[in-house]
């Protein structure tokens, strides 16, 4: 079952507080996966547990057959499971070129550096124009592009995006959404957290609603889902 990300009975959290409770989901069986749900209910914690930034207290996370729960982030990136960090922070004093070079740090990614750079620049031509500009001087949308571009440099077998359009102006948001669709069309399976469910529906037919640190609903391909249904999921019938 290569390329499949299976999370079973995952419990994780910070300090004395559990954020995820016994969460189970399968990612990759039906193409891209979209995660949505109210803020503060564990979406980001889930992504951080997958990429090794947060310890899994119990349960298992398997990627392509290997158990990756509580592995170091470094070995998880090394397997090709790449988590694009939220772009607003990134590396403020590095240039775009340096960020992308850093993305190709793992041996697995270094072998493909040329091809990955070409791909990243094709999706985000703006990055090429501003190659020597420091990240701190970029706009929010451009930082997000650097962030996703850096993740592409890590040669992802599966790419995790945490709210790629958070806080962006509509026009920039449009541009990023198109880029994310391009990446998906290029053959990289995506896991995307996004508040904009319309965008998620365009990207994926397999959605999970995460609420109170658990999967509150799963929408599989073939199950149609309208605006009203989503509102009902959020707010109750």
């Amino acid at each position: 079952m290569s390329g499949l990300l299976e999370i079973t009975n995952l419990t994780a959290g910070y300090g004395r507080i559990d954020v995820l409770h016994d969460l189970t989901m399968t990612i990759g069986a039906h193409g891209n996966v979209g995660l949505f749900g109210p803020n503060g209910h564990g979406k980001t914690t889930l992504l951080r547990a997958i990429s090794g930034l947060v310890k899994a207290r119990s349960g298992s996370i398997r990627f392509g057959g290997a158990d990756i729960a509580n592995q170091t982030p470094r070995s998880i990136v090394g397997l090709g499971l790449v988590h694009s960090s939220q772009g607003n922070r990134l590396f403020p004093d590095l240039t775009i070129g340096e960020c992308l070079a850093l993305g190709a740090y793992t041996p697995r990614a270094r072998a493909q550096e040329e091809a990955n750079r070409e791909r990243a620049l094709k999706i985000f031509p703006k990055l090429g124009e501003r190659w020597n500009q420091k990240v701190r001087t970029l706009s929010g949308g451009e930082r997000q592009m650097v962030s996703i571009g850096t993740a592409l440099m890590s040669n992802p077998a599966m790419l995790i995006l945490d709210e790629p359009t958070l806080g962006l102006a509509p026009k920039v948001k449009e541009e990023l959404c198109r880029a994310v669709l391009d990446i998906s069309a290029g053959g990289i399976p995506l896991v995307v957290v996004e508040q904009d469910v319309e965008f998620l529906l365009e990207l994926s037919q397999h959605l999970y609603l995460v609420n109170h640190g658990q999967v509150a609903a799963e929408i599989k391909p073939g199950q149609t889902m309208g605006h009203a249904d989503i509102m009902a999921l959020y707010f109750g019938q």
Binding site: P73, R74, V82, D93, L102, G103
Partner: protein, 291 residues
């Protein structure tokens, strides 16, 4: 003419020593965000290790790299023992001040125990004196003035032109994002300490060649290095380097015109003034980050 030359040489010489020390402090601050109060004893220990190796009649050109290598290992150990276990604590800056001070005290007394209190001196890098435009200078000082920019230049190239150097600068700016691109953050922390200790050891060898060594010889250079990094700002590696030479010249001028007695007081007066006018340092931005 005589005065100008003397100040020039004095400034370059002092500046070189300060720069060699300050760069290590800045490197550790920018990568890990802690102040290493063991930096002075790393310098002292470096000088003693070099002295011991020389006492076994190993030639100087082997003693230099061997000492730096040994001290890089010591720096790594220091990091692993008193810094790494504390990373993630909310009050890490203060805690590490205390643990590194404790380590400094241990090393200082350890050296006293092993090598005794009698003053020692290292061989000079190059023997003899020379006359430059009528001013007598020791070849040792000239060697230091010439070697330091080469080493600092190499460090700058390493940080700015290699992937490993890029990784060191990145860790300083965002630890989570560094983890997500696959950097080995703990190893990079160790590397920062190793480089800093090796450079401090080199400064110790420089110093041991023209002044008597003692277990407390690192205290004053540490203080000066602290002044330099505060003065130069900690946002980059080049800020402290420029500041080191500025302060070196300032000291040379002060001790020429006002005497050694007044120099520290004047130095601190300038530092206090600096903190009042531009607290982020002469070349500093307000955030932490390297090169």
């Amino acid at each position: 003419m005589d005065a100008a030359l003397q100040i020039l040489f004095g400034g370059l010489f002092q500046g070189s020593l300060f720069a060699m020390m300050a760069v290590g402090l800045a490197l550790i601050w920018t990568t890990i965000g802690v102040f290493n109060f063991s930096h002075g004893v790393m310098m002292m220990l470096g000088a003693y290790v070099a002295w011991q190796l020389s006492a076994w009649s190993i030639p100087l050109f082997i003693v230099l790299p061997a000492t730096m290598l040994i001290m890089a290992g010591v720096g790594w150990l220091l990091q692993a023992s008193v810094v790494r276990p504390l990373i993630g604590r909310p009050n890490i800056v203060l805690v590490v001040v205390i643990t590194t001070l404790a380590a400094a005290s241990l090393v200082e007394n350890g050296v006293l125990e092993i090598w005794g209190p009698r003053s020692k001196q290292l061989p000079t890098l190059i023997e003899g004196n020379t006359q430059i435009l009528g001013v007598g200078v020791s070849m040792h000082q000239i060697a230091i003035i010439l070697i330091t920019p080469v080493i600092l230049g190499a460090l700058w190239l390493f940080l700015n032109r290699t992937r490993l150097g890029l990784a060191l600068r990145a860790v300083a700016q965002n630890e989570d994002a560094s983890l997500l691109v696959g950097l080995n953050v703990t190893a990079l922390y160790g590397l920062a300490f190793a480089i800093a200790a090796a450079l401090a050891a080199l400064a110790g060898i420089f110093m041991g060649g023209y002044r008597f060594m003692s277990p407390v010889m690192g205290a004053d250079p540490l203080l000066k290095a602290l002044i330099v990094v505060v003065f130069g700002g900690l946002s980059s590696i080049s800020g402290p380097i420029f500041a080191a030479y500025l302060i070196g010249f300032f000291e040379a001028i002060c001790s020429y015109y006002f005497g050694l007695y007044w120099t520290p007081a004047l130095l601190f007066a300038v530092l206090i003034l600096m903190l009042m006018i531009k607290p982020e340092g002469l070349f500093g931005a307000k955030t932490r980050g390297l090169a």
